[in-house]
């Protein structure tokens, strides 16, 4: 299904070969048949009870599981309000189904049971990165486009703008998703979400967090910058001869999310509307670390178990091969200091549990400008992509 306009990547090529002529003739036939259909007795859907419409839409949803045909499900959600309501109700989040459907899926936690496979293509001359969903078992295939990022170097920092639209990367655009900002040295990064990660989230007014007053009410803003993660890179004890140490503090995800029965915040719409309807968040005075202060701003009120911290899995030194090795299960084929696997770190004072063994994000090189990115619950495609971008940018241990 389509709106009747060409997709952005379509090009019309003049081809006078017999095969092309036959194809043209076939298309003409189809066109005529379509016209014929339109002129025939049009049936009125008005008689159709919503329960029956639902049955039809359910069959479309369950049969179009993979991209590119999944677009038909999205199209059904664009016919009218009642169709949209039903489709939105039928389509389940990637966390449950393992399938990306509507664009909002890129903001929702990945599947719990398995890694979702994606790949990134870097365009050095344009300073852009394109993220695709893998469609096959191959390391990189045609892919389904998900997100694009463009690097913008500034005097004191670098920004990576992340958008649903590769052709429109402006912050004011309706397709703006968020950005990654690096510090001057390229050792610390912040991921900013264009939407509040949950009710009561604070917008970032400046780089430093200022806590004002005893009650904060979320401002009514259409798009903003909500810090949702802090990434830092450090040399390990071996200096630049060893793999670097990565740490990602996921401010908007509680550490309990990875425990059995845990949940992670899930955005459901791009335009939540009137933020005034969200409850105000009481201000918690805290003399402890910056993280705690940040925590009281970022997590839903009532969550006091600290943000999720992701750390990179330590590679093992392979004496015979004389190199650092990680088991990427075939998804990474070129050695690179940028390659990493992130796992959840137990909260301070807590013992390590089986859930801290699961790889939550894996990133690595497979070609000159091609990298695979596999992620799962509780992070989203957007967060995963931003973390990977930081790996491109950081200069730690690169020689």
């Amino acid at each position: 299904m389509n709106f009747g306009f060409r997709s952005r990547s379509c090009r019309v090529i003049q081809d006078s070969s017999p095969a092309a002529a036959a194809a043209m003739a076939a298309t003409q036939e189809e066109e005529e048949e379509r016209e014929g259909l339109k002129n025939e007795e049009k049936c009125c859907w008005g008689n159709m009870p919503l329960e029956l419409l639902r049955e039809v839409l359910m069959r479309i949803e369950s049969s179009e599981n993979n991209w590119p045909l999944r677009k038909n499900v999205v199209a059904c959600g664009g016919v009218c309000r009642s169709w949209r309501e039903i489709v939105k109700e039928i389509v389940r989040t990637p966390e449950v189904s393992g399938i990306i459907t509507f664009p909002i899926s890129v903001k929702q936690p990945g599947p719990r049971e398995s890694l979702l496979r994606c790949f990134i293509k870097r365009n050095r001359s344009m300073q852009t990165y394109h993220l695709y969903l893998n469609l096959t078992q191959a390391l990189a295939d045609d892919g389904k486009f998900l997100l694009a990022a463009r690097k913008c170097r500034r005097t004191t920092c670098t920004d990576y703008i992340i958008s649903l639209n590769a052709d429109d990367m402006s912050k004011g655009s309706s397709t703006y998703i968020g950005k990654l900002r690096s510090n001057f040295l390229g050792t610390k990064f912040v991921i900013y979400d264009g939407l509040p990660p949950h009710a009561g989230a604070k917008i970032s007014k400046s780089r430093s967090t200022r806590l004002v007053g005893s009650k904060q009410v979320s401002p009514r803003v259409p798009a903003g910058s909500y810090p949702v993660a802090h990434i830092s890179y450090e040399l390990n004890v071996l200096g630049s001869r060893g793999p670097r140490r990565m740490q990602c503090i996921m401010d908007a995800i509680p550490s309990s999310a990875v425990e059995p029965g845990g949940v992670a915040p899930t955005q459901t719409e791009f335009h939540p509307g009137n933020y005034d309807s969200f409850p105000s968040l009481p201000f918690f005075r805290s003399k402890s670390s910056r993280i705690e202060k940040f925590l009281s701003n970022s997590l839903p009120s009532g969550q006091r178990d600290g943000p999720l911290v992701l750390k990179n899995k330590s590679p093992r030194w392979h004496e015979q091969l004389q190199c650092w090795c990680l088991n990427f299960h075939g998804r990474v084929t070129v050695a690179s200091v940028k390659n990493f696997q992130l796992v959840a770190s137990p909260a301070s004072g807590q013992p390590a549990r089986p859930e801290h063994e699961k790889v939550i994000l894996q990133f690595g090189k497979v070609g000159k400008d091609v990298f695979t990115m596999d992620y799962r619950y509780p992070i989203s495609v957007f967060q995963a992509f931003a973390i990977c971008l930081s790996s491109f940018d950081t200069k730690i241990a690169c020689e």
């Binding site: 709106f3 029956l52 069959r59 009218c80």
Partner: protein, 150 residues
């Protein structure tokens, strides 16, 4: 071969007063009709929600279906292979009202397959659906659509 015993017949009356005489064993493929016969013992069953044209097709389906022969699937495709979407929709409504699960399933899938091939505008036109999105919503949906087709 011995002659088969006389089979009980019932008459089905469509909304436009057309009458169809069918064997009861075939008619009860419809759960609705089965319940009416069991509860009321009628021999003339009015079906005010199904017109004659549609009822004829439904009876054809039930007849072929109840013999249990292997030609079933071939016939089903022929019976439902109509270019007119309105016929399929009428059959869906009838299969729902008459509670014939297998027919409902098949027609549902056929309609789903047809919709998949249509553009959004075509769907609205053929089904006479009004585009009731606000201009802001429409913009959001177009963005969504463009992304899905990227």
């Amino acid at each position: 071969m011995s002659k088969s015993p006389e089979k009980k017949l019932v008459t089905l009356k469509s909304s436009d007063k057309e009458e169809f005489v069918v064997e009861e064993s075939i008619a009860v493929t419809s759960e609705t009709i089965k319940n009416i016969i069991e509860d009321c013992g009628l021999e003339l069953i009015p079906l005010p929600n199904v017109d004659g044209k549609t009822l004829a097709k439904v009876i054809e389906y039930c007849t072929k279906h109840s013999t249990g022969s292997n030609d079933d699937s071939k016939f089903d495709d022929e019976c439902l292979d109509t270019k007119q979407l309105s016929v399929l929709v009428d059959m869906l409504l009838a299969a729902n009202y008459l509670n014939i699960k297998s027919l409902f399933e098949k027609v549902c899938t056929k309609i789903a397959d047809r919709i998949k091939d249509m553009s959004v505008e075509e769907v609205r036109e053929v089904f006479k659906i009004e585009n009731d999105f606000t201009p802001e919503e429409e913009k959001k949906i177009r963005d969504e659509h463009a992304w899905a087709h990227e």
